[in-house]
Amino acid sequence: MGLDSYITLKDVVFSRSDRRIFNGVSVEIPRGKITAVMGPSGSGKTTLLRLVGGQLRPDSGSIIVDGQPIGELRRKELYKFREKMGMLFQSGALFTDLSVYENVAFPMRVHTKLPEDMINDIVLMKLEAVGLRGARKLMPSELSGGMNRRVALARSIALDPELIMYDEPFAGQDPIGMGVLVKLIRDLNSSMGLTSVLVSHDVQESLSICHYACIIADGKVIGAGTPSELQDHPSEQVQQFLNGHPDGPVPFHYPSSAATEDFGLAGGVS
C-alpha cells in the first residue's frame, strides 16, 4: 500500500456457530486517516471491530494493531492495550446509572489516579469538544439518541486514544444529527491525529468523509481503495452496493421454485 498501516488483517478466518463470517479477509488500515468499512447487512462488520478490539479471536490468520498481534495478547495485556482504543457503539452504550459527567469521567477514574480537579477539567474539555458541556448533569435517559452518541464519543476520547472505532454511527440519525457526527468525526481525526475506523452501510456519508474505504461481502473483501478508486471499481458487486441497485449480483428474488409451479400454471398439474 505504501501507507503506514496502523491495523493489518491478514487472511483472517472467523466463524460463529456454523457460519463462516470471514473467509480469508486481508485489510490494511492506514494510520491517522479515516477508513470506512462497508458492506451489506450481516457481512460481519461489527464482528471485524470486535476482532480488532480483541473481544473475539480469529480461527486463523493474524490481526496486528500498532505492531501488536492482538489475538495473542493475554487478558491483562489486552486490557492495558485497550486503553489506547476508543469505541463508539451503535447505541451509545452509556452507563444508565451514571450521569453524563460521571460517564465521561469513568475511564479516567478507573485507569488513572488523577486528582478530582484535573478530571473535572478534562471531562469538561471533552464535553465541550462534542458540544455538550451544558448537559453534564443530565442522566442518559434524559438525552436524545444523537446526544447519547455524542456523550459516548466524548467518553471514548477521554483517555486520548490512538484509535477510534465507530460502529454504525449514522444509523437512525436525522440530517442535523448526521451533520453533527460527520463534523465531529472529521474534526477529531484531524485535531487529535487519530486513526478512525468507521463501520457503516451508509455509503454517501461514509464516502464523503473517509480517506480510504473497503467493502466486505460474503466473508471477503470485494473492493478497497480511496473513494474515487472505488467509484470506478470494475466489480459488479461493488457497483451494485455503492449505487444501491436493487437487482444484480445480490438478487432481488429470494430463491424459490419456478413461478409456473407455485401459481399452478404448468400444464396438467392442478
Binding site: 473481544q55 482504543m85 447505541s91 452504550a93 444508565t96 475511564p107 478507573v110
Partner: protein, 260 residues
C-alpha cells in the same frame, strides 16, 4: 425415533455445557475480588438494592406466615391439648426451614429477577461490551459486587424473616388465642437450640444466598441480548433458583437434622 433420542441427548449435553460455562463464569467472578477502595462503594450500592429494598416483602411475608403458623398450629395442637407447645412449633418451623427457604424463594423472585434483568439489559445495550473495550473487567466491576451482595444479604433477610414470624406468631397465639405468654417463650427456649437450630438455619440461608445470587447473575450475563432474551432469562432465574433452593434444602436438612 433416532432424531428424538438425538435431541434428548443434545439437551443433556447442552445442560452439562451450560453448567460448565456457569462454573467458569463463577471462577472468573470470584477471582476478581474487588479492590477495597473502589469495590466497597459498589458493594454498598448493591447491598442497598438487593437487601434493603427486599426488606419490605420479607417483613410482610414473615409476619403473615408467622401469624398463619400461629393459627394453624393452635388448631392442630389444641386437639392434643398441647397449645402451649405453639411457641416451639412456630420457632422451630421458622428457624430451621421456612426462614431460610421462603426468604430464598422470595429473594429469587424479587432480587434475583431484578439482578438478571439489570445485567441482561446492560448486555443488550452493549454497556458490558463498552466496559470491556475501555479496559475494565465487567466481571469485576458489575458482576462481583452483585454476587457478594446477594451472598451477604440473604442470611440477614432470613434472620429478620424468622424474627418477624415468631413475633407474628406471638401476636396470634398470645394476644388473640390466649396462649400463656410465659409458655409461648418458655417452651420455645427449651426446645430451640442456638447452635443446632439457629446456626444451621443461618448456614442454610448462606448457601441459598450464594446459589440464588450466582444463578441470577449468570442468567443475566449469559442471556440473548434482546428483550425476548432478557425476559426469558428472568424467568429462568426464578425457576432455576427455586428448584435449586428446594433441592438443596432437602439435602441440607437431611445432613443437619437427620439422625443418622
Amino acid at each position: 425415533m433416532i432424531d428424538r433420542i438425538a435431541s434428548f441427548g443434545r439437551s443433556g449435553t447442552d445442560l452439562v455445557v451450560s453448567i460448565g460455562r456457569a462454573g467458569r463464569f463463577l471462577a472468573g467472578v470470584l477471582s476478581g475480588v474487588p479492590r477495597p477502595i473502589t469495590g466497597f462503594p459498589l458493594l454498598m450500592k448493591q447491598l442497598y438494592s438487593v437487601g434493603v429494598l427486599s426488606l419490605a416483602i420479607i417483613v410482610v411475608s414473615g409476619l403473615f406466615i408467622g401469624m398463619v403458623l400461629g393459627l394453624q398450629g393452635y388448631t392442630i395442637l389444641s386437639d392434643f391439648g398441647s397449645e402451649a407447645a405453639i411457641g416451639q412449633m412456630i420457632a422451630l418451623t421458622l428457624v430451621r426451614e421456612l426462614g431460610p427457604v421462603v426468604t430464598a424463594l422470595l429473594f429469587a423472585g424479587r432480587a434475583g429477577s431484578a439482578l438478571t434483568a439489570e445485567i441482561g439489559l446492560m448486555k443488550a445495550t452493549e454497556q458490558l461490551s463498552s466496559m470491556e473495550m475501555m479496559g475494565v473487567d465487567p466481571l469485576r466491576r458489575v458482576i462481583a459486587p452483585r454476587l457478594w451482595a446477594g451472598f451477604i444479604a440473604m442470611p440477614v433477610l432470613a434472620i429478620i424473616f424468622s424474627m418477624v414470624g415468631i413475633w407474628g406468631g406471638m401476636l396470634v397465639g398470645v394476644e388473640w388465642l390466649g396462649v400463656f405468654e410465659g409458655s409461648y417463650w418458655g417452651n420455645m427456649q427449651a426446645s430451640v437450640d442456638f447452635w443446632d437450630d439457629v446456626v444451621n438455619g443461618i448456614i442454610k440461608s448462606v448457601v441459598f444466598g450464594f446459589v440464588c445470587a450466582w444463578i441470577a447473575v449468570y442468567q443475566g450475563y449469559d442471556c440473548v441480548p434482546t428483550s425476548a432474551g432478557i425476559s426469558s432469562a428472568t424467568t429462568k432465574t426464578v425457576v432455576y433458583s427455586s428448584l435449586a433452593v428446594l433441592g438443596l434444602d432437602f439435602v441440607l436438612t437431611a445432613v443437619m437434622f437427620g439422625n443418622f
